[in-house]
Amino acid sequence: MELIEAIVLAVLAASTPLLLAATGELVTERSGVLNLGVEGMMIVGAACGFGGAWLTGSIFIGALFGIVAGTLMSLVFALMALGLAVNQVATGLALTILGVGLSGLIGAGFVGERITPAMHLYIPGLTDIPLIGRVLFGEDAFVYFSLALIVGVWLFLYRTRAGLILRACGDNHVSAHALGYPVLRIRTFAVMFGGACAGLAGAYLPLAYTPFFIPGMTAGRGWIALALVVFSSWRPGRLVIGAYLFGAVTILQLHAQGWGVGIPSQFMSALPYLATVIVLVLLSRARTGGSTAPAALGTVFVPDR
């Protein structure tokens, strides 16, 4: 029983950065912009988030540092892909290459340092309930925030006028522009939201997941988050399921290594990446009747005046 509880807790922790980053990218992509730089924004968010927490001793300020860093990175992307109409795939790759380098520079000063990781909620009575107590009432703030955020995004996209306009920009930017909506400004905000989420997702790793920073600690999570958005068919509800499934794969392979199943550890470590490939293939195959992706995703838009 305690083992099951421990596994569920670990799965939630492993899923949260994926969910946060994928939530941001989902909004970005819904506005019609493909930002492949999630990995780069995350790793800079991780370095700045840890730096902020280490300097001030506050996890909250660390998280803010991560958010600001991710947003700044995304503004570079917006300037290029929206302001200068540069190919979004190439710009996203450039953002990741830059982010990996920057995070190494920023993080060099505090590799090997430790902080006190984010506190977990404790409500006497409720948290002590066997089996479900710690899972429901004993998480860190990031876990609850990530769930609140995706609910908020769902409400925004499907229950507000602004969300409808954002989706219109993603499906047909020419029509949205003709109706008088500022397509590029809306997309810039969507990209910034994606950056903020990716920065926070990155900051989660050294602030709550492991209490230290190592270069390259995002280990492809940004790319998995991108795959999750495809997996979700650009729908918030499915995104939650996908993020927790991937978190489960990550944790199960770790436990399987611990149990000594006899399979080399490297093969187990490769599981999340292979699972991503397989899921992408299966989903794309199932979706032969037409794509569910935003119709204008990844296309360049220069308004004619």
Partner: protein, 363 residues
């Protein structure tokens, strides 16, 4: 008053020619600021990065050695990007090629196998790289799965596979437990061009690849198809060109070139298989491809330039304790500027003075 982008009537050939130079100039200005922030003397740092490696013969050879994998991979990637197929997993294809070629080297170790060993390693490495690249290509063509994500995921898988081999079955029993194979036999090693130097046969192969790509793109129907499919997909469909077939072809070729680059690196400068054989060649090659304007000759020059930053970065670290990550930042910034300047080939900036009457009246 507002600055807006406006499409040019036709592409500007002047800017197409000078934009890589503008990009390099802007990058150097940015780096100067970055060095100053890091508290290093910018002039000395720039000298260590860009001038010092050009002043001695050893470094010059080392630049050619580093440029070899970059140019080979970037040539393959440029074919993909021209055909609008986004292979970003060259790093994985490089590693798999290195692994496949090393298999022959490891299995023939200590036997008196003949001169066929090295050519066989090359062939197997290229085949393995091509097959590995075909996975995302087929997933894309048959199932519509994003080749960007699948090719990238396979980088991590290749990295772990190599790690498993050198820590497990292929580990050198006399290697003091280091994760590495034994040093390859002389017949399994890429011959040097100058006795006692660094320059090896691989650089010649890279030059041949550049020439081959130039002929393919400039003188053959296939090359024409590749360029049309990328630049004008609709026209290509009317022309009866098969875009899917070209995705498969360009991925296979770029995978083969990356795999070949992998075994040349392992059987050449490194001499044995170990983790970390690549300082991100597969990713830096993406920058090389764009900086070289997806043009074979341009890629050769761009490859040499980025190789210079690798060597310069190492020298700057030794001489001035500048962190190696500065090289990656430099490469990222350079790619940004290259892409931004390229935008000016098709667009130009225009100052707009919003005028309410005009805005509401004539539109």
């Amino acid at each position: 008053m507002q600055l807006v982008l406006e499409k040019r009537a036709e592409r500007s050939n002047t800017i197409a020619l000078v934009s890589p130079l503008i990009a390099i100039g802007l990058t150097i200005v940015t780096m100067t600021i970055l060095f100053a922030i890091l508290g290093k003397n910018p002039l000395l740092a720039l000298h260590a990065y860009f001038i010092a490696p050009l002043t001695d013969g050893y470094s010059l050879q080392e630049i050619a050695v580093k440029a070899t994998p970059l140019v080979m991979i970037a040539i393959g990637l440029s074919l993909c990007y021209l055909a609008n197929a986004w292979n970003i997993g060259a790093e994985g294809q490089f590693l798999i090629g290195a692994v496949a070629g090393s298999w022959i080297a490891v299995k023939t170790q200590g036997t008196d196998a003949g001169v066929w060993v090295l050519p066989a390693m090359f062939v197997l490495a290229a085949a393995a790289g091509a097959l590995y690249a075909l996975i995302p290509a087929i997933c894309k063509v048959k199932f519509g799965a994003s080749e960007i994500l699948t090719s990238l995921m396979l980088v991590y898988v290749a990295d772990l596979f190599l790690d498993y081999l050198v820590r497990g079955p292929w580990r050198d029993p006399h290697g003091f437990n280091f994760p590495t194979t034994a040093e390859f036999d002389p017949v399994a090693t890429v011959p040097l061009l100058i006795e006692g130097g660094r320059l090896h046969l691989g650089s010649i192969i890279a030059l041949l690849v550049v020439a081959g790509a130039a002929i393919l793109l400039g003188r053959t129907i296939k090359g024409f198809e590749i360029r049309v499919v990328g630049a004008a997909p609709r026209a290509a469909r009317f022309g009866g060109f098969n875009a899917n077939q070209l995705i498969i072809l360009t991925f296979a070729v770029s995978g083969a070139l990356a795999g070949l680059a992998g075994i040349i690196e392992v059987a050449g400068p490194v001499g044995h298989l170990q983790p970390g054989i690549s300082p991100g060649y597969g990713f830096t090659a993406i920058i090389v491809a764009f900086l070289g304007r997806l043009n074979p000759l341009g890629i050769l020059i761009a490859g040499l330039f980025l190789a210079l930053t690798f060597i310069g970065g190492e020298q700057a670290q030794i001489a001035m304790k500048i962190p190696l990550d500065v090289t990656k930042v430099f490469q990222g910034i350079l790619l940004f500027y290259v892409l931004a300047c390229d935008s000016l080939i098709l667009y130009r900036f225009k100052l707009v003075f919003p005028n309410r009457q005009v805005a509401s009246g004539t539109h």
